[in-house]
Every structure is written in C-alpha cells, then in structure tokens.
C-alpha cells in the first residue's frame, strides 16, 4: 500500500464532497435536523396533556383536587366547560385530551367517608397518550385520596415499594434517543454518501481511468473512505455535543472508549456502504440497498426506538447480527451507565469484527478490472 496514492484518492474524494451541495447537506444539515427532530419534537414522554375540568361541586375540596393536576406538571388546565354538551364539544374538536368531571355531591361524599368517585373522560383516538394520561390521573387522584384520609397525619404503611429508576432517573426518552441517534446518523452517511461513490465512478467512466493507473484496490477503498470517516466523526461529535449541551443527556463514561468504538463502527458501516457500491455499480440501486441494510436496521432493530427484549424471538435473533444493536448498547452504556470495557467487551469484539468485515468486503468486492 502506497501512502501517496491513498492520500491522492482521499484528497480527490474530499474535493468531490466539497463541491457537491447534496452531499454537504446530507453530511452536515441532516444530522442537525435529526438531532432536533428526535431530541425535541418526538419525545416519547407525555407532558402538558390538555385537560378540561367540569366542576359541579365548586367546593374547597374539589378545587384542591383540581389544583393537583396542573401542579403535577403532566396536565395543563385549558378549559372550564359548564355542562356535558360543552365537554363533548371539547373532546370532539380535540382541544382537550382529557376531561375531569367532579359531581355535585363530591364534597359531601368525601366528608361522609363513603368514597367520592370522580370521572375522567379520555380521548382514546390516541391510545398511547390516553393510557399514559389515565395512569397519571389515577396516581394524582390516589395521592389526593390518601392525603384526605390521613388529614395531615402521617401513617407508616406496612409494605411500600420505593422504586428508583437507575441510569435514567427522570425516564426521559431523549436520554435513550441521543445515544441511538448517533448510530442512525452514521448509517445515513454510509447509505447516502458512501454507497454511491464507487458506483458513480463506474457510471461516469472515471473508474476506467483510475483502474488504468497503478493505484491498488485497498488504496482506492481506504482513500475514498477517509473523508467520510472524517465527516462521520464530526457528526458524532455534533450529536454528542448537542446531546450534552442542549438536551442535557448525562454522560458518565469514557469519551476515549466511546471514540474508539465509534471509529470501529463507522469504518464497518462505511465499508459496508462501499461494498454495496462496488458490488452493484449503480448509484440508485446501491443507495437503496444501503438504506435497507444499514439505515433501517439501525432505526428499527438496534434497540434505538423499539425495545429488543419486547420483540418476538425471531426478530430478537435477527438483531444479533445487526451491528447497530451492539453499537447502541455501547453508546447507552457509556452515556447513561458509565460502564467501561470490562462490561462492553463483547460489543467491542463485535465492533472489531464488523470493521474488519466491512473493510475486507469492500476491498474484495472492488475490482479494478472491467467486465
């Protein structure tokens, strides 16, 4: 392998990138967009559920219960309908997702100790939100009930589960998303930037000219890879910086370990993209295949959005051969748990294997000979 030839290819490839607006947009704007999109817009947590209250009791007790809803942080009180018809209208128009109905006998029932039922109406069109809203509301009401029963006194319950969530104390979904997003961004670079490169040269006839020079296969593949590795590392840095700075995702592990494993995953993914490019020799097809084999698995089967233990066994088995799965374990482990190589060694081995396989396949598939 000749360093000067490798660098000549790398430099040319970097110049192509620099002059191509589509590539620049994909390389630098798309990751930013994804971070914003997943980090802010799509959060899997449900907060600020729009709530209307029909208070037919109008007592101090009913007002105390109502007040517990907005102060929980999960509900926003947005409307005070006067009757049942107004409640229907609010739910139908979608202006509110939940309605709390407190009957006229609420205070009396409460005082009598018979139990005072309240009604919660939910918009089931969005089942997920409705379920979560129901859980929140039940908890708020139960807590209010307990307060009333104790009337300020405290009582030690015989058994109490005090749960504490580790690693992601607030259960914020963005904490889960940022580590997974890094894998997705890299697979996008591989699929949309790397996959067309060799195919493009075959289509334009420039590969023939390149093939007539003494440049070696490994020199072409590595030289072409180099600028994309640079972009990949930059994007990962960007995602991590945005995660820490804007989204306040905790970072507990070793930056060095993350960088090393990230580099390996990147080389593997880009190598795979280039392997597809060299095998298919058509830009459009190469891009499509790369999306199927890198982007979609990274999105769906890596544990980024869908939890792997919750998958059917057949899918779980498939995830075992998805490199992104191991990488997402790495990022989550390092970000949230702060674990090191002593825990992540299986993933580290997987990354080394993946990088070797990606590069090996790319070099093998790339024939300098014309067919």
């Amino acid at each position: 392998m000749n360093r000067a030839r490798l660098l000549a290819v790398a430099r040319k490839e970097a110049t192509h990138l620099r002059r191509d607006r589509r590539s620049l947009l994909l390389a630098f704007l798309l990751p930013v967009f994804l971070i914003i999109f997943f980090g802010f817009a799509i959060t899997l947590d449900i907060k600020h559920i729009r709530l209307a209250v029909l208070d037919q009791s109008r007592t101090e007790s009913s007002r105390a219960l109502i007040q517990a809803f907005p102060s929980s942080g999960y509900f926003d009180l947005v409307a005070w309908p006067e009757d049942g018809a107004a409640v229907d209208a609010l739910l139908e128009s979608g202006r509110v997702k939940a309605v709390l109905v407190i009957g006229p006998d609420f205070a009396r029932d409460l005082a009598s100790g018979r139990g005072a039922p309240v009604q919660l109406l939910l918009d089931g069109a969005d089942a997920n939100t409705a379920t979560i809203a129901q859980n929140y509301a039940s908890a708020i009401v139960a807590r209010y009930g307990a307060d009333v029963q104790l009337r300020g006194r405290s009582l030690a319950l015989p058994v109490e589960a005090e749960s504490r969530v580790w690693y992601n104390e607030t259960l914020a979904s963005r904490n889960m998303i940022v580590p997974g997003l890094v894998a997705v961004i890299m697979s996008i670079i591989a699929a949309l930037l790397t996959a067309p490169t060799i195919a493009r040269e075959w289509e334009r006839g420039t590969m023939e000219q390149l093939a007539a020079t003494p440049v070696g296969r490994a020199e072409v593949v590595l030289g072409k890879l180099l600028p994309y590795v640079g972009i990949g590392l930059f994007d990962v840095g960007l995602a991590i910086a945005a995660g820490l700075g804007l989204l306040h995702v905790p970072f507990r592990g070793s930056m060095l370990l993350l960088a090393a494993l990230t580099l390996l995953f990147l080389v593997g993914t880009l190598g795979l993209g280039m392997f597809i490019s060299a095998t298919v020799k058509g830009q459009v097809l190469a891009t499509q295949i790369a999306i199927q084999t890198t982007y979609l698995p990274a999105m769906l089967l890596s544990g980024f959005i869908f939890s792997i233990p919750a998958m059917p066994w057949a899918l779980r088995l498939i995830t075992r051969i998805i490199p992104a799965r191991y990488y997402v374990t790495v990022t989550k482990g390092i970000f949230l748990k702060g674990v090191g190589a002593e825990v992540l060694w299986i993933e580290a081995v997987a990354m080394v294997l993946f990088a070797t396989a990606g590069l090996g396949l790319a070099v093998r598939a790339f024939r300098k000979e014309l067919e």
Binding site: A4, A8, Q209, A212, P214, L370
Partner: protein
C-alpha cells in the same frame, strides 16, 4: 529495436461472443501503431487487455516486457491511457486533476512542478488551471486528458479513439502532439475510425469481427489492394447506392459525400454495368473514373473479404 508490445494469440470471450479472436502482432518502441475497424471489431477490447484492464481469456500479451495477466501492476506503471470517454473528473479543477494523477503515478517534488507546468502548457491551459474541468471545451479536455496520461512520462501510450467528437483542427493539433511523443521514443497504440487519422500511423492493424485481417504500413496496405476502384459521380448518392448494390461485377459500393466508390472485378465491364444500372434507376452518372484507392477503400475491401461488418 526491442519490442514494446508482443501479442500472441490473444483472445477474449464474453460468454458465447468472441470479442478478440487469436490476435498476434508486435509493436516496436517509438512506433505509432493504429487499430482500424468498424464498431465491435475488437479494437477497444484489445486495448483494454493490453492496459491490464481486462484479463485475456487465452493467449499472451507482453507490454514493456511484462505479461499483462501476471504483472498488471508493472504494466500499468509503464503506460499512459486515455479511454474512449472523456474520463477526467469534471468537478475537479484542471490543476486538481493533474495533482490527482501525479499522486497516483508517484510524480513528486521538483519533478511534479516541472511536469505540471509542462502538462498545462501542452493542454494550453496555463491561464485556466483553476477552472473546473467540466467547463472546458471538448478539445481542451482531450488535451488535458492526454497530458494527465503522459504526466509520468510512460514509455507506452494507449489511446482509445482519442479524438472522437473533436473538431478537425483540434484533431490535427492533437496528432501533432502524438507525433512528437513518438519522435521522442514513446510507443503509441491508438484506435480510430477516422481514416485520415489512420494515415498518421506508422503501421495499421485492420480488425473486423475480432480478427486481425491486415497489418502493414498504410501505403503498403493501399498497394496490396488488388481490386480496382471506380469513382462514380452522381446527383443522388443514396438512390444510386441502392441501384448499384448487388450489380454483377461490383463487389462493394460505399458513399463518399455525393460520390460513390465501387470496388469492382473488371473496370471496363463494371463501367458499362454501372452506367446501365443507373440509367435504369433514373440516375445519370456524371462520370465514372478509375482512381487510386484511399485508405477507406482498403478498409472496405478488407472488411468485405473478411465477411462484411457485424450488423449494429
């Protein structure tokens, strides 16, 4: 003089199709060696095997003393190649393309500076080195591609239809450059379908249907043409061509602008046949004269003898 290229029974098959069929020839150092033939004759396939871009199915080819099948790297180091298609990078500047090929051929330091300036001057692009290559006119692109191909001063230069699509004046100046390279000892192998280009070659390999059907100096090829040629001046060449096709004693008719060239068996008999045929078709012959064969006539004759052109 040592042989720059030695080819023995070189064959390349693509499935059932034999693109190059047992071709043998030698090329001396400093020679301009031309491949002439219709599309599909096997010229490009031969050049691709000699530049180690394509593996021969059988037979042997040595370039600069190295076998193309066993030492492709050594072969590639010693040759410059310009493909049929313009294949420099259009989104790189003139200078960036030169730098790329300098990097690939290991031209560095002071030698690089000298060669870069030389290529820029050769291509006439010294003032435009920072322009994008894709914005240049085709003639300049070709000269730049040639410059990049000889940047590393290779002993052999392979040109596959280098001037297709280029205007005659640019083509002329391009050939002046090639003459210059050959004069300074570079061996040039070039394929073409322009007859006037073939005249520049020291020796010509005429190919058809994958076979080498004639190999000699252009002048010798013309002398070797046994069949007399009649130039028939007519008003409507396409109609006249139709009328003469298959006429007894007329072996082959081709169009030359508004005239026809007929390759015939016996000139006196053919002259009468042609005049009669044209008159019958309502086409008057302005004149029918025997002429010295052009290279194109030679080409037509050889192709005729080897079984005609491949359709398409």
């Amino acid at each position: 003089m040592p042989e720059a290229v030695r080819v023995q029974d070189l064959t390349r098959r693509f499935g059932d199709f034999t693109a190059v069929d047992r071709v043998s020839f030698d090329v001396g150092a400093g020679e301009i060696f031309g491949f002439l033939g219709p599309n599909g004759a096997g010229k490009t396939t031969t050049i691709k095997m000699l530049t180690a871009l394509l593996r021969p199915t059988s037979g042997m080819a040595q370039v600069a003393g190295f076998d193309v099948a066993t030492h492709p790297g050594e072969v590639k180091r010693r040759l410059g190649y310009m493909s049929q298609l313009f294949s420099l990078y259009p989104d790189l500047t003139v200078l960036e393309n030169i730098e790329l090929f300098a990097g690939l051929y290991g031209v560095r330091g002071a030698r690089f500076a000298a060669r870069r300036d030389w290529v820029l001057e050769l291509a006439g692009l010294t003032d435009q080195s920072r322009r994008l290559t894709g914005q240049l006119a085709l003639g300049w692109k070709q000269r730049l591609a040639l410059g990049c191909a000889v940047l590393h001063e290779p002993p052999l230069l392979f040109l596959d239809e280098p001037t297709s699509g280029v205007d005659p004046i640019s083509r002329r100046s391009f050939w002046d450059l090639i003459d210059g390279f050959a004069a300074s000892g570079t061996t040039v192998l070039v394929s073409t379908h322009y007859m006037e280009e073939a005249e520049y070659c020291h020796r010509l390999a005429v190919m058809n249907r994958g076979r080498l059907i004639a190999l000699d100096r252009p002048a010798a090829l013309k002398q070797a043409l046994r069949e007399p040629i009649l130039a028939v001046a007519v008003d409507d060449a396409p109609r006249a061509l139709e009328a003469l096709r298959g006429a007894p004693g007329v072996l082959e008719v081709t169009m030359y602008g508004r005239a026809l060239h007929a390759m015939v068996e016996d000139p006196a008999a053919a002259e009468r046949t042609i005049a009669a045929r044209l008159a019958a078709a309502g086409q008057a012959a302005r004149s029918i004269l025997p002429i010295a064969p052009s290279l194109e006539d030679v080409f037509v004759a050889f192709v005729h003898r080897s079984g005609g052109m491949v359709a398409g």
